[in-house]
């Protein structure tokens, strides 16, 4: 039984096939052949490639998860799926690490490796502990390659709600569960704020971007590979809290942007930004401001009503759907255009 994936309307086929071409070199031979044999309209919809040793190959598409058979066809029956061999796994690890596993101890400790182009390969295996803390991973046996897509204009619809009367930007948090397009939205917001938005009379502002996981700007040797705007300074691979403090001291940004905040030190750094008069644009895992308020570190930030706009993303009408925009002071919905 083959899974049915309908051909998307032309307007959604915007990201092109090039993104998958960036991923193909890190896939082991067998998997590479299968993925490259898929029809382009399916390849364009791939969001994740899940590779687990001894188990079936799974593709996460925008329409849901499917197994990939040895004949390069999508299927919902695991028996028909291509099984990942130990050899595939070994090749995959070598390819995603650029044959430099020894240089990626910090990445293994965090459980993911950032690939060229800002794609992320999450890794699981057996944790090696040192004094109760994870030192590294060994017997690597599972990998999830998450494909990052640049969608220019993704944030156009929400920008009017995020700019205030004096043409500054509100302190904003983008909230969503994983795989709902937070990073893509953040990247486009950064780009538009940095370049300026002619239609809204917004001239552009210096943006300091702390890209801890190299996912937003996809830097290669410090140079952004994604378009993050002409006035954006990127601090690549730097811990968020430290990076925000460094940027505020060194680059005088008007806005500081960072992805996936949640740790106590991140929140402390954000408070510093707020007190220094710098606008904050961040993302967090969650589904609503109420839920964020319950989180130990973030809760304080929400309860103090420092955040002026909550943008809630979901998948109800596809990845990156803006479900709601909430005013942080009144906690009322501003409606979605």
């Amino acid at each position: 039984m083959s899974a049915k994936v309908s051909q998307p309307p032309a307007r959604l086929r915007c990201c092109g096939d090039g993104v998958i071409q960036e991923i193909l070199p890190v896939l082991p031979g067998g998997v590479r052949r299968l993925v490259s044999d898929l029809p382009p309209f399916i390849r364009e919809k791939i969001e994740e490639i899940r590779i687990r040793q001894g188990r079936p190959l799974i593709l996460g598409l925008s329409s849901g998860d499917h197994f990939l058979s040895s004949k390069a066809q999508l299927t919902d029956r695991s028996q028909e799926a291509y099984q990942i061999t130990p050899n595939d796994m070994e090749h995959l690890i070598q390819l995603i690490s650029g044959s430099s596993l020894y240089a990626l101890e910090e990445e293994l400790r965090n459980g993911f490796i950032t690939l060229p182009g800002g794609h992320r390969a999450g890794i699981t295996g057996k944790a090696v502990l040192d004094g109760g803390k994870v030192r590294t991973l060994k017997y690597l046996s599972g990998c999830n390659i998450r494909i990052s897509r640049e969608i220019k204009g993704a944030a156009t619809g929400i920008l009017p709600c995020l700019l205030d009367r004096s043409r500054g930007i509100y302190h904003t948090i983008l909230i969503s569960p994983p795989r709902c397009g937070k990073t893509t939205m953040l990247r486009d917001l950064v780009r538009q704020l940095s370049d300026g938005v002619e239609g809204l009379g917004f001239p552009g502002i210096n943006v300091g971007l702390v890209d801890e996981r190299s996912e937003i700007a996809g830097c290669y040797k410090g140079i952004p590979q994604r378009d993050v705007g002409v006035r954006t300074d990127v601090l690549d691979g730097c811990p968020k809290a430290e990076g925000m403090m460094m940027l505020i001291r060194s680059m005088a940004p008007g806005v500081i942007a960072a992805d996936e905040i949640g740790r106590r030190e991140d929140v402390e750094a954000i408070e510093e930004m707020l007190n220094a008069g710098v606008k904050v644009l961040v993302t967090a895992h969650g589904s609503s401001p109420a839920e964020l308020a319950l989180r130990p570190a973030l809760g304080h930030l929400i309860r103090a009503k420092w955040i002026e706009r909550f943008v809630i993303l979901g998948r109800s009408r596809g990845v990156g759907t803006v479900e709601d925009i909430i005013d942080g002071k009144s906690m009322r919905s501003l409606g979605v255009k």
């Binding site: 070994e90 690890i93 070598q94 044959s99 240089a103 590294t136």
Partner: protein, 172 residues
């Protein structure tokens, strides 16, 4: 006159053959020493610099002489190619390309091959161990090669010419 020219040619040809064999004996320890110091550089890059392998190979190529430089630079180029190949494959390809032009013996090649198969696959400590093992084995090969060179270089240098002269004498 023609006979004389023929005799000179025979002596020259066999003399050159002898010199070439002698040359191989004296080149091998030199090449092994160059490889050893290149691996030492690679170890520094891996252990202290945590440099990614393609970059580390490039650095080593830049700092090595013309004996080992081309090998490391080809391995680096293969590994950085967008086709996505593993370090073992890149190393093997470079070795196959480099080996025929050298005085290395199959046993030297197998040391390098076995190092290649473990390159970049494990943590720093383990990589250093593999590099040390290869360097130690090369060290042993150098000792043997030097002994062979001391024994054979002079021998073959003379032997070629002597063989040529004997041939000439037998023919006349």
């Amino acid at each position: 006159m023609l006979k004389l020219v023929g005799a000179v040619l025979v002596v020259a040809a066999s003399g050159l053959c002898g010199l070439s064999v002698a040359g191989n004996y004296s080149r091998r320890p030199r090449e092994l020493r160059t490889l050893r110091s290149a691996l030492q550089m690679l170890e520094t890059e891996v252990a202290y610099g945590a440099t990614h392998l393609p970059e580390a190979l490039k650095q080593v190529a830049g700092n090595s002489d013309r004996l080992a430089g081309p090998f490391f630079s080809q391995a680096a180029a293969e590994l950085s190619s967008p086709s996505g190949i593993t370090a073992a494959k890149a190393w093997e390809n470079a070795l196959n390309h480099y080996y025929p032009g050298t005085a290395l013996k199959p046993q030297d090649l197998s040391i390098l091959r076995s190092l290649g198969s473990s390159l970049g696959k494990s943590d720093r400590k383990d990589q250093v161990k593999h590099l040390h093992l290869a360097m130690e084995q090369i060290e042993n090969s150098i000792a043997i090669a030097e002994e062979e060179a001391a024994r054979n270089v002079k021998l073959w240098s003379y032997l070629g010419f002597l063989f040529g002269l004997t041939t000439v004498l037998v023919i006349y």
